[in-house]
């Protein structure tokens, strides 16, 4: 008796699977964030030191730095900025798909600490006195761009200007505006240069009790906008030094991606063709479960908001290998059992059962290794490990349970009873058992 309903169930599952995959695979694949190496963009690793000597670098300062960086990155309009703390004193910034890398670099690395000093470089007012989000770009009478700042307290600024007037005479009655003043910078040196480091040094002619002030620094519009943006996104509580940077041009990244996808299709096509040629009917089942494997890995990766990089693709390939391997181990075992003279049904059962422990041990050892890599690894090693764990678990589920379910439906329908050729076993290879 052939149980037709099992075969019908098989086709229903296949059709449902094909329907879901074909409808959603493009969306899923497009929704995956691509790493720099596949999309273009750049990454910088900063070593962080406290802004002032003797201060300690706490978790809080690191967090504050990351959120300040995040705000600055938002200005650039990067869709998926990835800013992570690494170890104790490092911050990795990955910006994919940035058009203007120079601007992004400048924007990130400036400390954005504004200070008002006298001509002897003594601090009169710091960036703390600024109102949050109070900076904007305006124009003076001559239509030159200026940066307008709002202060928290008009009296304080009035006091400062009054002090300057009292202490200094012409022409030293200046209030010098610095961005990122560093120890050793001096006004008297910079004033002689063509392109001084300070922003501007206006003369104070009368006490200014006002909340809004203007900085006229011979800016062009872009410079003025840049300054307003960094002031608005807040100063960094730390000094950051670039210790590693890597930038990939978008076109190179795209080329790599296109080529890799094309190569991936060829590779998978070859695998499926080989499996079907060698394992016949079981190969077709393997093809179905492999397609499901690739789809599910992409889906999980999409949910996890993971970033796919070259090492990730390596892990995906290893996962394909292990999924194929699980299929091959099972099929070889089933073939052996058929050759030993068992009926198709009992050969299928024995083969699945005996191959399971092999597959399980092999998978667990590899997951163990991946787990250690994830725990101890950094950046790309960690990314590799995440993808590997996802791949192994998925490959195990699809190649063991998926394969078993689908193949089981056919075997148990009894349609293949006494047809070993379907499984790639010739009649003369079968040895009558016992």
């Amino acid at each position: 008796m052939i149980k037709k309903w099992r075969i019908v169930t098989f086709f229903v599952i296949i059709l449902a699977l094909a329907g879901v995959i074909s409808q959603t695979v493009m969306g899923t694949a497009k929704g995956i964030n691509l790493g720099l190496d596949l999309q273009g963009g750049f990454e910088v690793l900063y070593e962080v030191t406290p802004a002032e000597d003797g201060e300690e670098l706490t978790d809080e300062t690191m967090q504050a730095t990351v959120s300040a960086l995040n705000q600055r990155v938002n200005v650039l309009g990067v869709s998926q900025p990835n800013i992570t703390i690494e170890g104790e004193n490092r911050i990795r910034v990955q910006l994919a798909g940035v058009d203007n890398q120079q601007e992004a670099r400048d924007l990130l690395s400036t400390q954005a600490e504004l200070s008002f000093r006298d001509v002897d470089d003594n601090v009169r007012l710091t960036g703390q006195a600024l109102q949050e989000n109070g900076a904007s770009v305006g124009f003076d009478q001559a239509n030159n761009p200026v940066v307008t700042l709002s202060l928290k307290d008009a009296n304080k600024f009035g006091q400062v200007t009054e002090n300057i007037l009292e202490e200094y005479n012409q022409p030293n009655n200046r209030l010098v505006v610095w961005l990122d003043y560093e120890e050793g910078d001096s006004f008297s040196e910079e004033v002689q240069k063509q392109d001084p480091k300070y922003l501007s040094a206006p003369q104070v002619n009368s006490p200014l009790y006002q909340q809004d002030i203007q900085i006229e620094g011979n800016f062009d519009v872009e410079e003025a906008e840049f300054l307003a943006e960094v002031l608005n996104s807040g100063s960094l509580p730390v000094d950051m030094e670039e210790i590693y940077s890597n930038s990939v041009s978008a076109s190179l990244g795209e080329q790599a991606m296109d080529n890799t996808i094309f190569a991936g299709f060829i590779g998978i096509g070859l695998i499926l063709a080989y499996m079907i040629a060698y394992y016949r009917f079981m190969g077709i089942i393997a093809a179905v479960t492999l397609s499901a494997y690739i789809y599910i890995v992409l889906l999980i990766f999409n949910w996890m908001q993971g970033v796919l990089t070259l090492p990730g693709i390596a892990a995906l390939i290893l996962g394909v290998g292990m999924a194929v391997d699980a299929n091959i181990i099972t099929y070889e075992r089933v073939k052996e059992e058929i050759k030993s003279g068992k009926t198709i049904l009992s050969a299928f059962k024995a083969g699945s059962r005996r191959s399971l422990s092999t597959i399980l041990d092999a998978n667990i050892t590899t997951i163990l290794a991946a787990g250690v890599l994830f725990y101890y690894g950094t950046s790309s090693v960690q990314g590799f490990a995440v993808m590997l764990i996802v791949s192994i678990v998925t490959s195990f589920l699809t190649a063991v349970f998926g394969s078993r379910l689908l193949l089981g439906l056919w075997v148990q329908s009894r349609i293949f009873n006494k047809k070993p050729r379907v499984f790639g076993v010739k009649e003369n290879q079968i040895h009558e058992s016992q």
Binding site: G267, I271, I317, L318, D325, E332, T358, I364, T365, Y375
Partner: protein, 316 residues
């Protein structure tokens, strides 16, 4: 058991001395090579800067050099390599890191020249070295974990032999990279890790069959008994070993051939490692296990027999 075993069966154990010799020679040659030729360390492991210029049509080294010279003084690449199907891609390496201003200048210049800003990477070597060091330590820790797991599930000697195979495979890739002098970069580390994963998987599958066949054995009384089990197991699993490695090589090979310049050395490492991984499972791991296991059985015979020697863990 399986009566077909004698048909077309390959006597692996008979040739094991040759495999050992081959691997020992390879190992020595590899060490010498690493100390003399060394590795072509990429920018990730050396302080320097690398500019990748992508033009619309064919470039020559002189052209690139001239382009750099016309940016200004001091832009003399230490090395220029051309790549791409029509040499439209040029890598210019600088020893010593370029400053932000210099990077900006180069990017603007080539952006104007070819309409595409070049890719520029600068690095202080410590970061790449740390990554490699970190990966190495992780692999060592993982190895201990694997030995523990395999000792519990199988037996200590299986664990030790599988780690030997794993190290062999990782070392093999590194030596091959020293021979061909391909660039060693961060993706290369990922490739080595992938092979480590594959190697464990492959070895464990083979060992699983040895373990199973061992359980059918009444008693091991001679080396030939043990050798017979290993040969039988390897012959039973060889179709699977070859089919599996072939399919993975399809994937890695396709990426090597069609995957583009950027990941060529990465996929090359994968292909080499896969072949090494299969070789080591068949010819090294199993044979090492055979030798060690036989010695430990003999040792147990020589010991005063207190308990059932079969289940005793060998002490090292």
């Amino acid at each position: 058991m399986n009566p077909s075993e004698n048909k077309r069966s390959i006597p692996f154990v008979k040739h094991r001395k040759k495999f050992f010799t081959f691997s020992a020679v390879f190992f020595l040659a590899g060490i010498i090579l690493l100390f003399t030729a060394g590795l072509n360390l990429g920018i990730d492991f050396q302080a320097g800067s690398k500019v990748e210029v992508l033009a619309n049509d064919t470039l020559t080294a002189e052209e690139v050099e001239q382009q750099f010279a016309s940016i200004g003084d001091g832009y003399e690449p230490d090395e220029i390599t051309l790549a791409g199907d029509n040499n439209e891609l040029a890598y210019a390496s600088f020893i010593g890191t370029l400053s932000q201003d210099e990077i900006a200048e180069i990017q603007t210049y080539f952006g104007d020249q070819y309409g595409q800003q070049p890719t520029i990477s600068t690095v202080s070597p410590q970061v790449g070295k740390e990554l490699a060091q970190n990966a190495l330590i992780s692999v060592l820790i993982a190895s201990i974990g694997i030995i523990l797991y395999v000792t519990i599930r199988f037996e200590f000697w299986y664990g030790l032999a599988s780690i030997a195979a794993l190290m062999h495979d990782a070392f093999f890739i590194i030596v091959v990279f020293s021979i061909v002098q391909f660039e060693v970069n961060v993706p290369f580390i990922a490739a080595v890790l992938t092979i480590v994963g594959y190697s464990i998987n492959d070895t464990i599958v083979t060992f699983d069959r040895i373990r199973e066949n061992m359980s059918y054995e009444e008693e091991i009384t001679s080396f030939d008994d043990l050798a017979r089990v290993v040969d039988l197991s390897l012959n039973q699993t060889i179709v699977r070993s070859i089919n599996t490695v072939l399919t993975v090589v399809f994937a890695a090979g396709a990426i090597f051939l069609f995957g583009g310049e950027a990941i060529r050395s990465f996929s090359f490492a994968l292909v080499i490692g896969l072949v090494a991984g299969t070789y080591s499972s068949l010819f090294l791991a199993s044979q090492l296990w055979l030798s060690w296991k036989w010695k430990s059985i003999q040792r147990n015979w020589n010991k005063p027999q207190k308990e059932d020697p079969e289940d005793m863990e060998p002490e090292v």
